[in-house]
C-alpha cells in the first residue's frame, strides 16, 4: 500500500488541509472525504459527465483527476451554486423548464453549463448542444436542458 500525502485544496471557498492516498480520485475525495455528495459518480471512467466540477474555473471530470492533482487548486461543486430556497439563476431555470427528471445527471449538467456560460456567447442552440455533448442524460431527451440554458443566455442578453 502506498503512503499518504498532505495536500491543501479549496472547495467552494473553504480550504481543507488533508492527507490522501495518491490513487484517491477527486470525485471520491469530494464525496467520501468531504461528504459533498452533490457531485455524482456515473461511469467512473470519463464517459458520462455526471462528476463534472470546476477546477480553477474550468469544467473537468472529477473521476479523471486525482485528488492529489488538486493540491493548491480551487474546486467548485454543485453545492457552491446555491441552496434550497436560494437557487442561482441557472438552477431556477432548470426548475422552470423541467430540465431534469431523475436528477442524476443534473449536477454535471449544471457545472458544465456554468463553465460554458462564463466563457462563450452561446449564440445558437447548436453551441449549447455542442458544449453539453460530454454530459449524458438518460431521462430528458436533452431538449429541456437546452431550453433552460437558452433562457439564462437570453435573460443575460436582455439585462447587460
Amino acid at each position: 500500500m502506498s503512503g499518504t500525502r498532505d495536500i491543501t485544496v479549496t472547495v467552494n471557498g473553504a480550504t481543507y488541509p488533508v492527507s490522501v492516498e495518491p490513487r484517491l480520485l477527486l470525485v471520491d475525495f469530494l464525496r467520501h472525504t468531504l461528504g459533498l455528495t452533490g457531485t455524482h459518480v456515473g461511469c467512473e471512467h470519463g464517459v458520462c459527465g455526471a462528476c463534472t466540477v470546476l477546477v480553477d474555473g474550468d469544467s473537468a471530470r472529477a473521476c479523471l483527476m486525482l485528488a492529489i492533482q488538486a493540491d493548491g487548486r480551487s474546486i467548485d461543486t454543485v453545492e457552491g451554486l446555491g441552496r434550497i430556497g436560494q437557487m442561482n439563476a441557472l438552477q431556477e431555470s432548470f426548475h422552470t423548464h423541467h430540465a431534469l427528471q431523475c436528477g442524476f445527471c443534473t449536477p454535471g449538467m449544471l457545472m458544465t453549463a456554468t463553465d460554458l456560460l462564463q466563457k462563450y456567447p452561446l449564440a445558437t442552440d447548436d453551441d449549447i448542444r455542442r458544449g453539453l455533448s460530454g454530459n449524458l442524460c438518460r431521462c430528458t431527451g436533452y431538449e429541456h436542458i437546452v431550453r433552460a440554458v437558452r433562457a439564462v443566455v437570453d435573460k443575460r442578453k436582455a439585462a447587460p
Binding site: S2, D28, H45, D58, L64, S133
Partner: protein
C-alpha cells in the same frame, strides 16, 4: 472501479522526470491530462508502480508559430490549441481536426503529448501528424532525438517511445497560404472517437491542378495511414467529379480494417472512401 495503488511524483524538471522513469524500468507511467490514462488505470489495463505527473513542467506548455512551422509543447491542452489566435491561420488543418477531439471538459485537460503517446488508432492528432510529416521530439536518458511521425506510431497504443522517454514537443512544417485542405470525420455522437476520418491537403499549381497531395486516413488500421494510392490518383489533375470518384474508390481499396465492437471492417472500408471524397470536396471549395 477504484484505481490500483501507486506512488506519485510531481518533478520540477524534465531531467528529474526522465531519471524517475529510468529508475523504474518500465514500471512508471507519465501523467499528463489523465484523460486516457485514468480510464486505463480504472480498467486495470495499466497498473504502474509510479505515476510521474508532468503538471509542473511549464516549459512544455508553449506554442511557437514561426516561418518554419508550428511547434507545440507536449503539455499544451486541446483547449489551448483552439484558443490560440495565430494557429487558425498558421495550421488550419490542425485546428479543424482538434475541433473533433472529445468534449469540452476533456479538452480542458487532455494534452497533445498524451494523445501522441497514447496512440489511439482513431485519434485525430496522430492522423494529422502523419499526414503533415510532423516531427516528434523526445527526451530520455540517452538525450534528445527527433522521430518522424510516420515512424512513431507502431500499432494500437504502441509507439517508438522507450520506457525512459518523454515527448517534449511536436513540430508541424510550415503551412503555405495557398494550400487547400479538408478534414472530414464520422463518429456516432459528437466528441466520440472517429469511426473513420480523412485529413487531406494539397498545393494547387498555376493551372489549379493538385500538386503535393497528402491524404491521411484515421480509424481504419492499427495506426494512422498516408494513402499513397489516392495521392497518385489526384496529383497533377483537376479535382473534378471523375477524379474525386476515383480517389474515393482508391481510398476504400487501400485499406483493410478489422471488425470490432463499433463497426464491421466492411463498413469502415466504405466509410473511409466517403470521408476522403467529402474532405477533397471541401478542400476544392
Amino acid at each position: 472501479m477504484k484505481l490500483p495503488p501507486f506512488e506519485y511524483a510531481c518533478p520540477a524538471t524534465i531531467a528529474e522526470a526522465v531519471a524517475l522513469l529510468a529508475a523504474h524500468n518500465g514500471e512508471a507511467k507519465l501523467l499528463a491530462g489523465g484523460q486516457s490514462l485514468l480510464p486505463m488505470l480504472a480498467f486495470r489495463v495499466a497498473a504502474p508502480s509510479l505515476l510521474v505527473d508532468l503538471g509542473k513542467l511549464s516549459e512544455l506548455r508553449q506554442i511557437r508559430v514561426a516561418d518554419e512551422g508550428v511547434t507545440i509543447g507536449a503539455m499544451v491542452r486541446w483547449r489551448d490549441v483552439l484558443a490560440h489566435a495565430q494557429l487558425h491561420a498558421a495550421h488550419p488543418l490542425l485546428v479543424a481536426a482538434v475541433q473533433h477531439v472529445a468534449h469540452h471538459q476533456i479538452r480542458n485537460r487532455g494534452t497533445i503529448g498524451g494523445s501522441l503517446a497514447h496512440a489511439d488508432p482513431a485519434a485525430e492528432l496522430p492522423g494529422v501528424a502523419v499526414t503533415c510529416d510532423a516531427d516528434i521530439t523526445v527526451v530520455g536518458r540517452a538525450g534528445e532525438r527527433v522521430i518522424a511521425a510516420r515512424d512513431f506510431f507502431r500499432g494500437p497504443l504502441m509507439t517508438a517511445l522507450k520506457a525512459d522517454e518523454i515527448i517534449t514537443e511536436v513540430h508541424l512544417p510550415a503551412w503555405p497560404a495557398r494550400r487547400r485542405f479538408g478534414f472530414c470525420e464520422f463518429a456516432r455522437r459528437r466528441g466520440d472517437f472517429a469511426l473513420a476520418a480523412a485529413a487531406v491537403f494539397y498545393d494547387p499549381d498555376g493551372a489549379g491542378h493538385v500538386h503535393n497531395a497528402h491524404i491521411g486516413a484515421i480509424g481504419v488500421a492499427d495506426a494512422p495511414l498516408r494513402l499513397a494510392q489516392v495521392e497518385l490518383v489526384i496529383n497533377g489533375r483537376a479535382l473534378d467529379d471523375a477524379t474525386i470518384a476515383r480517389a474515393e474508390a482508391a481510398a476504400s481499396a487501400a485499406v483493410d480494417p478489422a471488425d470490432d465492437i463499433h463497426a464491421s471492417g466492411a463498413y469502415r472500408k466504405h466509410l473511409i472512401g466517403v470521408m476522403v471524397e467529402r474532405a477533397l470536396r471541401s478542400a476544392a471549395g
